[in-house]
Amino acid sequence: MPFFPQADYQCGPAALATALSAAGQPVSAEELVAEVYVPGLQGSLQPELLAAARRRGLLPYVLRGSLEELAAELDQGRPVLVLQNLHWLGPPAWHYAVIVGMAGADSEVILRSGEERRRVEPLWRFLRSWDAADRWAVVLLEPGQLPARPDRYRYLRSVTELEASGHSSAAHAAYLAAEKTWPGDPVVRAGLGNTALAMGQWKDAAEVYSAMLAEDAGNVLAGNNLAVALVELGCPATAVALADRALAALGAEDRRRPVIEDTRSQALSRQGPREPDDCRSYGDVSLR
């Protein structure tokens, strides 16, 4: 695993470079300075480290903060980027480091820190500085990797954020991995459909939404987004019917109403004399 010693105050770029490189995105600490360092603060902010990982299509997963969880990540060969507070009866002294292993029958942690490639710290001392930083720790997952101790909400929140930042194919891989761990999860299914839609895989997306509607005909997301996919598949009439049904089921005040009305008018504007018969394979499920 490469190591990037830090220049003045630049432990953020240095630690991030180590973690990114371990996740298959080699980059130097110097290159990351412009991306995450804030000169006026003489440091780097946690959200900006996560954002830099997302920009590269990686999934930053913030751990819950147990030592057991941290050790489990190391067992999978993943380094853990941590925030430490090295204060000593004074103001906070924030520092980023990367834990790469444990030693001495788990009584010591091995860190890449500051200018040191390998720094062995007694566990108690590390814990004191880690506790003082609210036990903040993050692993950078490659698309499709799950954390060692996956927490559903934490994982899916991170994936939806990766998806929203435009990394559809990485998010799709993450949802596929999640489907194996939480089969039938409504967020995962919606995500699989929406990422397929974002990548222009209209048929795949339509199949996911159809399956969701087969289980719950009142699923508004599936109804609307299936309509969007069907317009692209040359089935605007079915799409209009889907949108109409979704609108009929919604209250007048529902905030999703404008989105669905939008979908409906898009579909209307694309309507031709007759749509192909295979449109009904989606319509049969949803328009019974």
């Binding site: 830090q6 432990c11 953020g12 630690a15 412009a34 991306e35 995450v36 360092y37 804030v38 000169p39 006026g40 603060l41 003489q42 440091g43 780097s44 902010l45 946690q46 959200p47 900006e48 996560l50 954002a51 830099a52 997302r54 920009r55 430490q84 507070n85 090295l86 000593w88 906070p92 002294a93 924030w94 520092h95 980023y96 500051g114 200018e115 930083a133 899916l156 939806t160 954020e161 929203a164 930042s165 435009g166 409504p186 967020v187 919606a190 995500g191 929406n194 990422t195 839609l197 974002a198 508004v220 997301l221 609307n224 987004n225 905030r255 999703r256 404008p258 989105v259 939008d262 979908t263």
Partner: protein, 141 residues
Amino acid sequence: MRQSNPPKDKVSKNSSLRSGAVRAVVAWVSVALLSVGVWQTAAAGIIGTRSVLDAELRDVRIEQVERLLSQAQVRDQLVALGVDPAWAVTRVASLTDEELRLLEQDLQNLPAGGLLEVIGIVFVVLLVLELVGVTDIFKKM
């Protein structure tokens, strides 16, 4: 508030006000353009995955306006703290809504990890205290 040098006469005041307004609009539009395609809080016509995760769905249009405002605010703060303006735009574009809100509220007081070596500083302080005679830690060692 941004005009550090108050204009001397009425004409220049008007024109600088106008150019300030133009600048604000240009900045607004460029942020809006840049954020399109980078962050898809509400891709056209699609109900997003996040809405399922957070049971309550907020008005996507309001969210987008809020997001633009937060982005501009955080970007200005970063630039004021010495971040390259072009990079600041890219940087805020990759922050999530929650992260933006957090930075918007409290950027200056959030942990900014950057320490090189604090042990050395502590040692120097202890040594000074020792030499001045406030403490006598080292004699016992």
